[in-house]
Symmetry: C2
Subunit: 517 residues, 2 copies
């Protein structure tokens, strides 16, 4: 077999079952190798941002990597933003980038570029394969590296001749690398600190600590010590809804975050680090740990958050403590005007049990987390790295990972346009995704930031940079043009009917929620 | 004034009149500075690939840079593919990338990434501004660097505090740097060589040599020496049509290129380098200069191709030689089936005088150059770097640069999906662009490459990776959803009516050409 065949065989033997791709000529031998290996499913995205975002969403739900297959530097560039988000989500991605044959690069043909430099912005592990005989081993090491821990983007650059040359042999398969628990001294130290701090203590969590099990353990810590439970502003994946433990979320704006954290003197981190503001602003603090508050890591992102919390519960002698969980109490159906609040209320009422919610709803989505806290149990995924255009691709990948669960894609209109091509992949793969477009026809966050700058009222020309109007986007038309049915909702009742239809059918559906102020 | 104001003032004073952008919070002070400077027009793209591709198209037609304004590493990543194409086109682009405040980067907030590494894949000049007091000077140097020669992508990374801090002063404006002519000895050497070689000599051209004037001079060289005139497979900009000199184009496939070049013993390059194949293939040559043929540069890409050809004409004593130009002979209108050939014929018949043709028509567009050789005089722009998704953005930028000329955007469907958001910018800015989608519902080049690999018949699963069907894309619907009117054509007559409508009206219009085999 040639190098490509040996690589594909090794990937699938190591549990990499899905290849999200938009291939080109330099990847054609890899594609031919896929043809010979029906155990690996290849899924086409019509743009690489769809490919990499899907790999992120898949990894969040499958707990293991998919591979991508991208076309040289430009294909990688197109996928870079969502690889950035995957990096911030700390999920495993095996990112395969085809390149010119090793001997062709020196000729500087038109598609030649410095792939390594481009990849280094998002990849914790990079290798350029040198020989068909070692490419399978490179692939195995990429899979191993992607597991971290924590999970990370491992980029394997695959010159075309390392794919087409041979003979080559598959490499031994790789088993997932699991993170270790923190040591006893750390756990004991945290237990003592939290006991002493009482209600001035807090746990700040991300990663596996936000699984149902992790949150129940955290709930026992809280019940036993009085500590508050908090999660990062943007979480990789969190178990939410009725019956689950619901941590407070650190607000996006620094001043609100500081307000929330006021009075905390001991901040214990689990799977994350001390909070910082998303952006810096003139004269405002960007480190959000309150003055005089000490930060203690219970578990680094590289460690096992659930095991750490279990050990902490033991150390606190809290194994019988009863965590506070969210009572069943979803709101009723809204009527009348369609606003961010009534939209959130309808979602909270109708959300199917065990749904996956991918949230890139932006400013108009602000009410959704509050309203859905007591909705049917669900998993929640956030835009982790701030690079917009993640939502619809990641929702697609989550649906590939969990074909028997409904995916709800909550999507700001401005961000949706970044990777709108994802709708086509949802149609082709018949993915069970209901998309709600939060159509406020503006980059509302930029309007807010402009006013925060204190630059006064912008001119009409400048305002137009924040507006998605003139012309308005027709989201139902966009979806239909890519094979996804949809409806437009301008009242709460229309939104309800749209959601009921999306949730009641299997396959992709889109609701354009035309929002008033 | 603050750093941002000083920078915008310096850019506009240096002739940078257009800012293509999709800004974010870290760029908000730059946006506020734009608000205070009405001489610079800001144009919104709903995705950064539109922004950078428009800057490329603008530069090709305006002969000077626009600036971009991009949002940190992910915004740059999204724009990277079209910056790659601009780099290969050797056109000036001032690429401005906002970053976190200098003191914020160390906190590794979610949007932090290694912008310099990402930029280095496409930028010949990179600077990270350090201080508001020097940011205007950085901007002036970016403009100067963008001119090269040859033109290049100059990336200025702008930490937010260097924009908001002050007081700052504008820097002295920058004048375009013009390329130099080659020295006399080089010209004399080439003249002698071409005289000796006769019909075994050839000129291979790109850059300014392909302007109307450059080609007329090249035509005098050919008339005087017998040398063949050739241009690169993909040209930055070329004057074409009736009355112009029409060089032969080096074919995309290496074996065909070698066939074309057979018998050439002296290859003189003007604004380009010796030909190489786009990709390497097992066992096939990737350097396309025939065995025994010597390559002589008359003008490097950094030199003035027109001046070089003028000097060569002088040295050959050929100032009165009469170049062979294309007689007026556009084909008649086609009837019947809509095929790549009848499409090309209709375009050739109807093309308005002085139109700008942006060609990213892909495999289905192969007949267009031949049919349009004797069309009304026009400028022709190619996809220069092979990174698909350039066409519709670059057509938009060309229309911004030349508001009084019709732009014809010849666009393969697969490539069009990469930056489909460009249609919205065409609608908002009322750009005079007629787009023809070559809708063959497949990545036809990959089908061809797969068969060239010798991997046999692909399975249905693999074939589906090359197909844009299931579901089909509705291009008229996509365009309408973004504010661009359009029609679908399934016969040559319908295509003619569509083109007549697009060419007859002002503003954006789209024709989906549904192609048979």
């Amino acid at each position: 077999m040639n190098g490509a065949r040996s690589l594909v065989r090794t990937l699938i033997d190591s549990g990499v079952e899905i290849c999200f791709t938009n291939p080109g000529t330099s990847e054609i031998h890899f594609v031919a190798a896929l043809d010979a290996e029906p155990r690996m499913k290849a899924i086409l995205g019509l743009f690489e941002g769809v490919v990499t975002g899907a790999a992120d969403g898949y990894a969040r739900m499958a707990g293991k990597p998919a591979c991508t297959l991208l076309h040289l530097g430009p294909g990688l560039g197109n996928g870079l933003a969502n690889l950035h988000n995957a990096r911030r989500a700390r999920v495993p991605v095996v990112n395969i980038v085809g390149d010119h044959a090793t001997y062709h690069r020196q000729l500087d043909a038109p598609l030649t570029s410095d792939i390594k430099s481009i990849a280094s912005g998002v990849s914790s592990w990079i290798r350029v394969s040198q020989d068909a005989r070692t490419v399978a081993k490179d692939g195995a090491e990429a899979v191993a590296a992607s597991y971290g821990p924590p999970g990370q983007v491992a980029t394997l650059i695959l010159p075309a001749d390392t794919a087409w040359d041979g003979p080559a042999e598959p490499a031994p398969p790789v088993a997932p690398r699991r993170p270790a628990a923190p040591d006893d001294a750390t756990v004991e130290d945290v237990a003592r600190t939290l006991r002493d701090a009482g209600e001035a203590g807090a746990l700040l969590m991300n990663g596996s600590a936000l699984s149902e099990q992790g949150l129940l353990l955290a709930g026992q810590v809280a019940a036993s010590t009085g500590a508050r439970l908090l999660c990062d502003t943007f979480v990789t994946r969190m178990a939410r809804g009725a019956g689950r433990v619901n941590p407070g979320r650190v607000p996006y704006l620094g001043e609100q975050a500081l307000e929330l954290l006021r009075g905390t003197t001991r901040l214990v981190t689990v799977g994350t680090k001390a909070p910082v503001s998303f952006f810096a602003y003139p004269g405002k603090p960007n480190q959000l740990t309150p003055t005089g508050c000490s930060v203690l890591p219970l578990a680094e992102p590289s460690e096992d958050g659930v095991a750490a919390l279990a050990a902490l519960v033991e150390a606190l002698d809290a194994t019988t403590a009863v965590p506070v969980t969210v009572p069943d109490g979803r709101p009723g159906l809204p009527t009348g005007e369609l606003t961010p609040k009534s939209l959130a209320q309808a979602v909270a009422h109708l959300l199917p049990e065990n749904a996956i919610v991918m949230n890139e709803a932006g400013t108009a989505g602000t009410p959704v987390p509050g309203f859905t806290a007591a909705a049917a149990p669900h998993d929640w995924l956030d835009l982790t790295g701030g690079a917009i255009g993640q939502g619809m691709p990641a929702a697609s990948g989550a649906a590939v990972a969990c074909p028997n669960r409904k995916v709800l894609s909550l999507q700001a209109d401005g961000s949706a346009m970044y990777t709108v091509q994802a709708l086509w992949t949802q149609a082709r793969e018949e993915l069970d995704v209901t998309t709600v477009i939060f159509s406020n026809r503006r980059y509302a966050i930029l309007e807010m930031e402009y006013s925060r700058v204190g630059a006064g009222d912008p001119s009409a020309a400048t305002r137009s940079l924040f507006e998605l109007s003139r012309p308005d986007l027709d989201w139902v038309g966009l979806a239909k043009s890519m094979g996804v049915e949809g409806v437009r909702a301008t009242t709460a009742e229309e939104l309800t009917r749209g959601l009921e239809r999306g949730f009641g059918e299997t396959g992709p559906f889109l609701v354009e929620a035309v929002l008033g102020e």
